[in-house]
Subunit: 84 residues, 6 copies
């Protein structure tokens, strides 16, 4: 239910909230969160460019380590695009 | 310049990126980041409801401590609204 | 010696301190800590239900990422039970 | 409701769960969490020695910064004892 | 004794280890650590420029929040210089 | 470019800044940062003893989890020495 809340629309739509959760997952270096939220952001209609922008904000707030985890997000993005 | 990048439009607009930075600031318990990003999100056109939704995502990803720092964000929001 | 201190009884018994260390390991997303402290909590006499409760507290304090790392703790628990 | 869950008995009693939440609060450097959970741990029947032991586990898992936040917990403890 | 170890010379001298501890304190957003380690780095012979460089590494590894805590380190530095 | 800045000399030389970045990487539990910064510290002329001292400071500031990530740094160090 925790994640259900993030997946529904409010003042912010589900896509924006999923991208936000992804940004946090990268900034706090949560490996297991990244593929999960990249997947759900794509499901909610996020484009590749929006995910790249999200990684950019995460790096701005997370510094060097977020570069590492942002790369994992890009990797996950590529993987989900190949799987389609 | 770091923060300038977040403040300009790309695939995501400046408002969304500021809200994202706010969400991360709450989730990583950065006291000094919170007032700063609430301020800039309002400047970029964020509504009160969007900030509340942002706090919600931060709490989902940050747990109990994010409740504490989310309250600080609400406090900052109220303050900026009074100052107008 | 650092971990020896946690493993002996004081006002709190060794089991409680090991569970506490596990809760922190989950909340701070320390992959390598989790199997280690699940193992030592079991050694100190913790039951499955107590470990599950511990994961619950960690999720309450750690949010979404703690769900990921809490799952790793459950996985480790299952593994140690099979190994017996 | 999040904190209600921690406050009720399960495999672990309310006191142990409050002490666990305090240990996490110290280890993750959540200033606002510390007084809150020291208060609730005392309410749930924790002794001074149990809180000191909890701080010890938090320092073992949180290192130098946890010494700083552990001191804040001791300060809060002393304050609540004076207020009684 | 924990901090004593950092304060003595080994392969790295005391000054370098104090600056390192300061860098970590900034990167992990430990308010109470910052004045403490700026003080001890100065005691160990660190120059203003070395502290500024240290803050730079912390920002590189800690991102936006480290800008906030790095400013606190500069503030502490200025204070200790006035106090001399 | 972010990492280029850390790699050049200033008040602190490149080696010291790389060791500092390694210390932070361990303290914040960034798996992917560790091999990277051990490698670059060696490239910048760091000795094995200086890396071990760096791990010591990281453990002092990061506690138990830093023991786990410090071991990963030692492992990476050994690997790079074998590769030479």
């Amino acid at each position: 239910m925790l994640h259900k809340a993030a997946g529904s629309d409010g003042a912010l739509d589900a896509k924006t909230k999923e991208l936000m959760a992804l940004a946090i997952g990268i900034a706090v270096r949560c490996d297991g969160c990244i593929a999960f939220h990249v997947h759900d952001a794509l499901e909610a209609g996020a484009t590749e460019d929006e995910i790249v922008d999200t990684i950019g904000v995460a790096i701005m707030m997370g510094g060097g380590p977020a570069v590492v985890y942002g790369s994992a997000a890009l990797e996950a993005l590529k993987q989900f695009q190949l799987d389609k």
